[in-house]
């Protein structure tokens, strides 16, 4: 029986409906939901992930990471995350584990593909020889503030890149391209940092807390005194007197402190020793100029250089 014109049109229409979607541009996928504990990791995820990711940082760049203000939105974010990035080395131990437990998101639990401990493979300093609270608020696996090491950013970026590729292999081409661009930016600035390091080598600083130890060590400088007698332990009058004595004896010119610890005590010690107080952020977004990790490092180098009267230009 011959097929009528109407039937042919209907058949053609049906065929078109079947075939055309295969050639039509595919609808954009939902972006990967990435949750990071600190802005450094969040910004790296944004820079490498590009349009394929939607990122949230749980902490603000200005917060003391040992006492992050836990809020309802954090639990909601974690419950929806496809990828979770943490610094590790117990940096987030005071507030994160219970959130991960309650979020009940199987994709991001420890050991799942969507969980990334960014300290994996990092050679930590300050690993305690023995574990005891008589040594203060020590981190069992070592100093966790390696985001402030001039070499730390590359390590973090590698971990973030690897995690993104693992969770979203379809985005590999974009992630590889963005990671290479980021590394190129980093290499350009590292030259300036290395030049400054040659001029700062051997100089001594005082710190309030151990968060700048990596930064100081990488610049070949020395922490001559710590205002906290032990990590997390507020100083008493005897500790303060000892710090002042040491700073004078060692010719310490600079006190490094974060915003959360830049108190009248630090100002008083500076006045008594003639040292300059240099307030540095301890994370991305910790200052208006610390908009990403490379800018954070640039700004930290610049402020230290200025304190010693050394000429240094940020990018």
């Amino acid at each position: 029986m011959k097929t009528s014109n109407m039937t042919r049109r209907v058949l053609f229409l049906l065929l078109a409906l079947v075939i055309c979607p295969r050639f039509a541009p595919s609808a954009p996928e939902d972006p990967l939901t990435v949750v990071a504990t600190i802005p450094d990791l969040a910004k790296l995820a944004e820079e490498i992930g590009g349009a394929r990711v939607q990122v949230r940082s749980l902490s603000k760049g200005t917060e003391n990471l040992h006492a992050v203000h836990v809020r309802p939105s954090m639990l909601v974010s974690l419950s929806k995350a496809d990828l979770f990035l943490e610094m590790g080395l117990s940096l987030e131990a005071a507030w994160l584990p219970e959130l991960l437990l309650k979020a009940k998101n199987e994709r991001i639990q420890v050991g799942a593909p969507g969980f990334q401990n960014c300290s994996d493979g990092w050679d930590a300093i300050g690993v305690p020889a023995e574990l005891s609270r008589k040594d203060g608020d020590v981190h069992p696996q070592g100093n966790p503030h390696f985001n402030l090491d001039p070499l730390g950013g590359a390590h973090l970026a590698e971990r973030v890149h690897a995690a993104l590729v693992r969770v979203d292999p379809l985005g590999r081409e974009l992630y590889d391209r963005n990671f290479e661009l980021w590394k190129k930016r980093l290499t350009e600035r590292q030259k300036a940092w290395q030049e400054l390091a040659k001029q700062l080598a051997g100089k001594k600083v005082a710190v309030y807390h151990t968060e700048y130890d990596y930064f100081v060590k990488r610049l070949d400088m020395k922490v001559a005194a710590s205002i906290e007698p032990k990590p997390g332990i507020p100083p008493g009058p005897g500790d303060i007197a000892e710090v002042i004595k040491t700073m004078k004896a060692e010719g310490v010119e600079v006190i490094l402190t974060a915003a959360w610890s830049n108190s009248r005590l630090v100002t008083d010690i500076a006045a008594k020793t003639g040292a300059k107080v240099v307030e540095l952020p301890n994370q991305v977004d910790g200052a208006s100029w610390a908009t990403d990790w490379i800018a954070l490092m640039d700004g930290m180098h610049e402020r230290l250089a200025t304190a010693y009267g050394i000429d240094f230009k940020r990018s």
């Binding site: 003391n64 203000h69 809020r71 309802p72 939105s73 219970e98 959130l99 309650k102 915003a259």
Partner: protein
């Protein structure tokens, strides 16, 4: 025996050798089965091994931690009670916790308090249910309001607010089951609810006249009861981000005690078929500065305690004749509340004021109130010193003033889960 019976037909058929081999094979199979588990005597329940470890290994040990709470206080009474000071080890908590398997964890709190050692909490929580549901069973603190879930060393003040102590108890741990669930609303709000059923959720929440030499009837809950006579709790709460720095929480709670009796100790006198309930509304707002250093918290809870609240022994006008005594119960509704403001200005220093007022659950209008002023200094993350000044006013009782110093130390991973 069973094996022997099976063999007999083989032997009867003339297959003696076959029967012997059958016996040998069957015997060796049963021996192999017994050796898969730890060796057990005949008839003892079979149990799996110790999970790739022996009885003497330290691997897979639970987390153990300790909290110790010392109190030194001085009290002055506006009445016949003796003024003076006291120094006490108020409380020690030994907490043991660990995962049983990927879906369940267990914790136990052994507490020393006021000279007595006891089991405060032992419960298992099963988190293998779909979604955000979880099920908790055992002995644990009830989920009511903002503070009844907390151990005393976790509080903002030295003692729990007056209204909670009086209507619910100093601490209220009960044996039961609780179902919890939470879900997000939008990006910045989460809603949580729980429903609990308990064998006895009376706690210490009835007023006892400490000045009187008389012994009041005591609240008793039957060991065995109908399902709808179990004690119940319910809580619904929501928390939201407020701007970049604030959090608000609001909630409602209920505790039902549907069936109990008041029994007069030393007699057969009893008043059965009693019931009461406590309802609560809570509201808390917290604000933290960008650097996390400065903090403000304000909030409070309002409670309604209703039903058969307390009982007394009535001597029927004949004190010498105990035979005609009877128990009189007070069916009433009373209200109470507490409100606080707390401010932290460094990471280590905070201070606040808390006011609590109650209608006392006894006959007649009677009020009591407490005003607490307190300062807290974190000597380190794990050592805390608190100074508190409390003014207590009792309409029927002695007013008092107390100055107290509390020193609390924590050793190990001493945590009680998400505080929400």
């Amino acid at each position: 025996m069973h094996t022997y019976r099976r063999i007999r037909p083989c032997i009867a058929l003339g297959g003696q050798r076959l029967g012997f081999y059958s016996f040998a094979i069957l015997s060796s199979l049963s021996l192999a089965t017994a050796q898969r588990a730890e060796v057990a005597s005949p008839g003892a329940p079979a149990r799996g091994g110790l999970g790739q470890s022996t009885r003497f290994d330290n691997e897979f040990n639970p987390a153990i931690s300790l909290a110790a709470d010392l109190l030194f206080d001085w009290m002055e009474f506006d009445g016949p009670s003796e003024d003076g000071q006291n120094l006490s080890l108020r409380r020690v908590d030994l907490l043991v916790a660990d995962w049983i398997d990927p879906n369940a964890f267990v914790w136990a709190t052994i507490a020393y308090e006021e000279g007595e050692l006891g089991l405060d909490e032992t419960a298992m929580e099963y988190v293998g249910l779909p979604g955000n549901h979880s099920l908790r069973g055992g002995r644990f603190f009830i989920d009511f309001g903002k503070q009844m879930q907390m151990h005393i060393e976790q509080l903002r003040t030295i003692d729990r607010p007056l209204v909670l102590r009086d209507y619910l108890g100093e601490e209220l741990a009960a044996d039961g089951l609780q179902w919890d669930n939470w879900f997000g609303v939008g990006d910045a709000t989460l809603v949580r609810f729980s429903l609990g059923a308990f064998s006895d959720v009376s706690g210490g929440g009835h007023h006892h006249d400490e000045e009187s030499d008389e012994v009041d009837p005591t609240l008793q809950v039957a060991d065995r009861k109908e399902a709808d006579d179990l004690g119940f709790t319910a809580r619904l709460t929501a928390m939201s981000d407020v701007g970049e720095n604030g959090t608000i929480q609001y909630g409602t709670s209920a505790r039902f005690l549907p069936d109990f009796s008041f029994d007069q100790p030393g007699t057969d006198l009893t008043a059965k078929n009693q019931n009461n309930a406590v309802y609560g509304l809570d509201l808390t707002y917290g604000w933290v500065s960008d650097d996390g250093v400065k903090r403000w918290s304000v909030g409070g809870e309002a409670l309604l305690f209703t039903g058969d609240l307390s009982a007394a022994l009535d001597d029927n006008g004949t004190p010498a004749n105990a035979a005609d005594d009877f128990i009189v119960t007070y069916d009433d509704s009373v209200t109470g509340s507490y409100w606080f403001v707390d401010h932290g200005w460094t990471l280590n220093d905070s201070a606040g004021v808390q006011y609590s007022i109650i209608q006392e659950p006894e006959v007649g209008e009677s009020r009591a109130s407490e005003l607490d002023l307190y300062y807290t200094r974190q000597l380190s993350e794990f050592l805390r010193l608190r100074v508190g000044l409390t003014f207590a006013e009792l309409q029927h009782g002695e007013d008092s003033v107390r100055l107290a110093f509390q020193l609390t130390g924590f050793v190990g991973p001493h945590g009680h889960g998400l505080n929400w």
